[in-house]
């Protein structure tokens, strides 16, 4: 009945090689699935947009008079507070997105589609990397829609800045996604997203240069200044902020790249079937200790 599709077994065989084309197909498939799911979840897109817009329209407008921002690089003149916070808000979108995809990894693990993913014959690090890239693609869509709306609100960057910031956004997306991956390997259950908000998202966001320049923080507290300086999110924001004005910040680049590599390596270990969480406590419900 299905001779064309299922030829006799003895005719099939030689072990299929997973060539470069196969790798590309795999990546495209994973990205495509993430995009399809994203398009399906309209509320998710909406809330991903509303969050930074609330900050921009309400918080930043309210603080406009309180917080003037003096001339600091990359700005060449005094800027409105809205202009100052916009890069930070764009990276905040990626922060939420990274944590959300980590949440979806936990969800996938619970419902089992993670199991399906891991039966792929491609190396596990490659599957994780593909997941990461898929998350970044989704976050880029959100970021640029946000920047377009901000532009209507007269938060304008130099036109070339939008293009120059693309590699920066890709790198910061990968960094936040890898951090999310590592966190996903640490949480056992879905309900813990609230803790992720409390212990990861809020501290990372507030203890950074997203909402206020670091020299302002330093005036308030030297210790807090140090914390902000050590926070990779600060460097992600600064990398993007500079890129949006066509400038390159080497320190920020080095920190973001280093953090990405370190956390991705950790994630690969965590998802290694012989070592990390999978072996230790990935046991199925009812059979785990």
């Amino acid at each position: 009945m299905t001779d064309a599709a299922l030829p006799p077994r003895h005719m099939v065989r030689p072990v299929r090689a997973l060539g470069a084309a196969g790798y590309a197909v795999c990546l495209a498939g994973i990205v495509n699935r993430e995009l399809l799911r994203f398009v399906q979840q309209k509320e998710r897109f909406l809330s991903a947009l509303v969050r930074p817009l609330v900050w921009l329209f309400i918080f930043a407008a309210g603080f406009r008079s309180v917080l003037g921002v003096s001339i600091i690089p990359p700005y060449e003149t005094y800027v409105l507070y809205e202009v100052y916070v916009t890069p930070g808000l764009a990276v905040m979108i990626q922060l939420f997105n990274g944590m959300q995809s980590s949440l979806s990894m936990v969800y996938d693990r619970e419902v089992g589609s993670m199991r399906v993913l891991l039966t792929s014959p491609f190396p596990r690090w490659y599957l994780l990397l593909s997941k990461l890239v898929a998350g970044v693609v989704v976050s880029l869509a959100q970021v640029y829609v946000f920047l377009a709306i901000a532009r209507l609100w007269e938060v304008e960057m130099p036109p070339m800045g939008y293009l120059a910031a693309l590699p920066a956004f890709i790198l910061t997306g990968l960094m936040l996604g890898s951090i999310g991956l590592v966190i996903s390997s640490l949480i056992r259950q879905l309900e813990n997203f609230a803790s992720v908000m409390n212990f990861v998202i809020f501290p990372m966001f507030f203890a950074s240069s997203a909402l206020y320049p670091l020299w302002r923080v330093r005036e308030a507290s030297e210790a807090l200044y140090l914390v902000c300086l050590l926070n990779p999110f600060t460097h992600a924001v600064e990398l993007v902020r500079n890129a949006l004005y066509g400038a390159f910040e080497p320190t920020a680049f080095a920190v973001v790249l280093g953090t990405t590599i370190a956390f991705f390596a950790l994630a690969v270990v965590a998802y290694d079937p012989g070592r990390g969480i999978m072996g230790r406590r990935g046991g199925p419900k009812g059979e785990a200790a």
Partner: protein
């Protein structure tokens, strides 16, 4: 490579522990190429753990798993390419269509393009869902979703199919349809199948079965032998028992072997 002689699945002296609790203890089983083998065991016997090891969700620490001779720990890629799996939990994306779900899985095996389209429609034909190609999985019944999962598991032309409680939670007709599809694949396509279940009427008297209980294999043989060996005094005639009788005999033998917990499983 002695690909021809190697069994489809060879699990050799595998043990696995979660913390102090041993989920599997020195388990060995073999699924010959092109054969249907059933793994019977009550819930919590260790079936799902065994499946997790056989699909490399986590690695085997004691013992070895080989798929057509490829060691899962040393040559995972070659081993996984030969393997199709239907997990106990539902693993389709409900908001995506049937064809999107299948294409995603094909991509995980590096497959795309026109031959894939043909493959997908042939497989949906095989499981009797050719007309549901562009419908969202959410609109399918439980039995239909399971059949899509079987199609999905076969998309990369594996020679070994593992099914973990594939019929759990389905009505009688859906269960029968799924059992029929899988048995037909064994006969017509030479697929090797490991069928884990705790439902006895899915097992035929001449099937090779392993009985898993508390993480150990406690019986192995044809279903008939396993049932007969434990209920020898109760049997009267020399002729093989009727199918219903065989089912009842197997169930009784299973109860005797595993204790009352079989009732929890039912």
């Amino acid at each position: 490579m002695n690909d021809q002689e190697a069994p489809a699945l060879e699990i050799r002296a595998v043990s696995h522990a979660f913390g102090p609790r041993r989920a599997l203890d020195d388990v060995s089983l073999t699924v010959p190429a092109g054969r249907f083998v059933a793994l019977l065991g009550p819930n919590g016997a260790g079936k799902t753990t065994l499946f997790s090891l056989a699909t490399r969700l986590y690695s085997t620490r004691e013992g070895a798993v080989r798929i057509f001779g490829h060691d899962l720990a040393r040559a995972p890629s070659a081993a996984l390419a030969e393997l199709g799996v239907v997990f106990q939990s539902r693993t389709l994306d409900l908001d995506l269509t049937v064809s999107q779900n299948l294409a995603y899985h094909a991509a995980l095996h590096g497959l795309a393009g026109r031959p894939l389209k043909a493959r997908i429609s042939a497989l949906l034909h095989l499981v009797g869902l050719a007309d549901r190609l562009n419908e969202k999985v959410r609109t399918l019944s439980g039995g239909q979703a399971r059949r899509v999962e079987i199609a999905r598991a076969l998309i990369h032309r594996p020679r070994l199919l593992l099914l973990d409680e594939a019929t759990v939670g389905l009505d009688l007709a859906s269960r029968a349809a799924i059992v029929d599809i899988v048995r037909k694949l064994v006969v017509e396509e030479g697929l090797a199948v490991l069928w884990a279940t705790h439902i006895f009427d899915e097992v035929h008297p001449q099937d090779e079965i392993y009985v898993l209980d508390k993480g150990r294999i406690i019986a192995h043989g044809s279903a008939d032998e396993v049932a007969g060996g434990h209920l020898a005094p109760a049997r009267t005639g020399a002729e093989p028992p009727a199918p219903e009788g065989a089912t009842a005999a197997l169930e009784a033998a299973f109860r005797a072997m595993t204790g009352a917990r079989a009732e929890d499983a039912a």
